[in-house]
Subunit: 424 residues, 2 copies
């Protein structure tokens, strides 16, 4: 497969996350207003400017109107073919063969203020990594780590939409109730067991009507694209509050998203079969079982977590990689999660966000949160500069990266999802 080349030199760098083959969508501020843009090399293609200058006249009126909105919701509503058409038009505009080489269309990513890409009505977090569920379950129930429903139900719960943040927003350590195992009563104060959770988010494109399920064979038509998600978690608050209705204040103080939504079209070369079931595992129930989804519903997306402590920052050291994972370790496919969510008639709306839950792989080194890496603090992590971490300390910055690589294909990346912890 031949690579596409752009007149923007950085887009042709083999190391870029954002070649012409990617063209993810995001929203940034320009002239004081939110504009929809697409990442290309180190730049952003400003779709608002493209429209103003007449460079996207070949797109239909509804698509052009959608590209002028302050969020991606309208474009999401138009379905995957609309996003496909915008990507195609942008690819032509940015190709090395294009006669348009208009710098007014471009904004440097380095100085752009990124915004949440969509008005997110509802946010749902799943629990789709069986390795994570097993590791966490083992900490609480050594004999019986995985609950009986896990291999039948894509377990999920509702998160908080109002505390979703875009990468680089600072995160204040939350206060809350915690109770030491030997204490008679809880106390209220700053969380001492603050953690990150490495997740992949996926945005709903076209929605469904209330009361109407989404067949799994059509699920991906309702998926707009993917981003990185850090589901910050206060483990001490979580342990005390989560029975019997699930996590609440331990999670809803902040959830950070990477700003660029990578489309399924861009990820197409990196599809893989769904995770192979272990012997004895049940076949998915019919509403979750689609041969095409089983054959190619997984994605080979490499994930990486780094930490930059305050001490490392002061010494101008580079962030330290603390784990490497891969989205292929999910027990449930994105299509299965989405179909399950709508199976009771729950209306999904354009711009709704779902996330995978913490992505952990089978081996140490591939665990997606400190709770697992340090075994709830029992085995602290030692960073290259000698610092140790059981959980996050004030000043720590957590950086997620994600990308796809494969011989014969351009690297497709997600950029970064980062956030720094402020004192509580």
């Amino acid at each position: 497969m031949s690579e596409l080349r752009s007149w923007i030199a950085e887009a042709n760098d083999p190391a870029t996350d954002f070649p012409l083959e990617n063209l993810p969508f995001g929203v940034f501020r320009r002239h004081g207003k939110p504009h929809i843009g697409m990442a290309i090399g180190d730049s952003i293609l400003d779709l608002h400017a493209c429209l103003d200058l007449g460079y996207l006249d070949q797109l239909s009126r509804p698509i052009r109107d959608a590209c002028r909105q302050p969020t991606l919701n309208a474009l999401m509503t138009l379905g995957r073919t609309a996003a496909h058409a915008v990507r195609e038009a942008a690819a032509i505009l940015l190709s090395e063969h294009s006669k348009v080489r208009d710098e007014r269309l471009l904004v440097p990513q380095a100085t752009a203020e990124m915004l949440l890409p969509a008005r997110i009505g509802d946010y749902t977090d799943f629990y789709a990594s069986i390795y994570h569920a097993t590791n966490v379950g083992r900490l609480f129930r050594p004999d019986n780590p995985l609950l009986p429903n896990y291999k039948y139900v894509p377990i999920g719960y509702h998160g908080r939409a109002s505390s979703l943040l875009v990468s680089e927003a600072e995160v204040r350590r939350p206060h809350g109730q915690t109770k030491a195992p030997d204490a008679a009563a809880p106390t209220f104060g700053p969380s001492r067991l603050l953690d990150y959770e490495l997740e992949m988010g996926f945005f709903v494109g076209r929605g469904n009507a209330r009361g109407e399920a989404i067949p799994i064979s059509e699920a991906e038509d309702h998926l707009f694209g993917l981003c990185l998600v850090n589901d910050w978690s206060a483990r001490d608050m979580q342990a005390w509050e989560y029975q019997p209705l699930g996590p609440f204040l331990a999670k809803n103080f902040a959830t950070t998203l990477s700003p660029w939504i990578v489309t399924l079209d861009a990820l197409e070369p990196f599809r893989i079969p769904a995770l192979a079931r272990s012997e004895g595992d049940p076949v998915p129930l019919p509403y979750l079982n689609d041969p095409r989804d089983q054959a190619q519903g997984g994605f080979d997306i490499q994930l990486e977590v780094s930490i930059l402590t305050g001490q490392m920052r002061a010494a101008q050291e580079a962030p330290a990689v603390v784990s490497r994972g891969n989205l292929k370790y999910l027990y449930w496919t994105l299509a299965q999660m989405l179909t399950h969510h709508a199976s009771n008639g729950c209306p999904l709306e354009p711009g709704d966000l779902m996330a995978s839950g913490t992505v952990s792989g089978p081996e140490a080194g591939s665990f997606g949160c400190l709770l697992e890496i340090t075994q709830r603090g029992a085995h602290p992590l030692t960073l290259p500069n000698g610092e140790q971490r059981k959980f996050l300390q004030d000043g720590d910055e957590v950086i997620f990266r994600g990308w796809c690589e494969k011989p014969g294909h351009r690297r497709i990346g997600f950029g970064e999802c980062r956030g720094r912890v402020l004192p509580g």
Copy 2:
């Protein structure tokens, strides 16, 4: 205390839910567009029409602008004093002393299409009735019905905003996974244990900035008003899915709200002390403990559940009252729930909805859901026409009512919250 009298005769009926002293806010459709209105007797005062005809010129420009919006969010953002000013202006306009007796301002409630009163960004459901928590806990853990955190933490979880409905919307029986205790594996199909949950909802008015808590002494400044909520629940789906992250598809297919938001101002005469703690119960942690809230943070609101079955409807029988409760049975006040929610810095936004969780009292006859009334189906309910119910059947209509009564005060009511079950 002397009663206020209106030139609208029905507002002076002692049995009305909507005297001049109430004036709750809602949104209805007129001339094809959402208008903000206030219930008065059997009518709606159309604030849009009042503004058009110059009857509210004494209100400030921001308040008048907010009253022209298609939802109450803008008015909620302006805080309780703004809503107070609108209620005062409307009371003058509707008083028997008013020279304005303009029928163009009124729409009959009977024919109006009510809409959701606000754009609800996030919906949170609490679990604040200790009797409900104990009754339900006993079904699952006979020896240890109440978990250790209950008397310290106002337990809550995030619900789904996209499936919130206004009264009278039909509710389709959801499909989902369920597993019989003796079955080897779950099956997928229509829920067989569909239930209602009698709850009180409360809307956030003014919000808080991310990272900033709301002191309990200021919590009620962030409360716009109350409505009735039916948190429809599929008990068989809930039992199978809820471990370890809480209820999800068992709840998010539908949640029904009564259309009128009754303000705290209107409820002022019906304040009572917070529920008395039992001997040995802990004192609330300081962030949840406010003397004024303890002294008057409860509300004496009577609640009633009726069921109208298909058979009763065919025979033109009246709905049968199946339980009577009261909001005074909440273990946590509204202020405690709201303050707890924001205590970790979670941003609450104008129009966000919280609900109390099922309101059950101490005695049989005051239980707020069929799960408790029938002891998970073990003791079916017998209706006046001889029909029996373990859980809801197709065609059943569930009707909630709520009101306050007290000698020397006008009755303040919530109207109805109703919904009929359609086959799955």
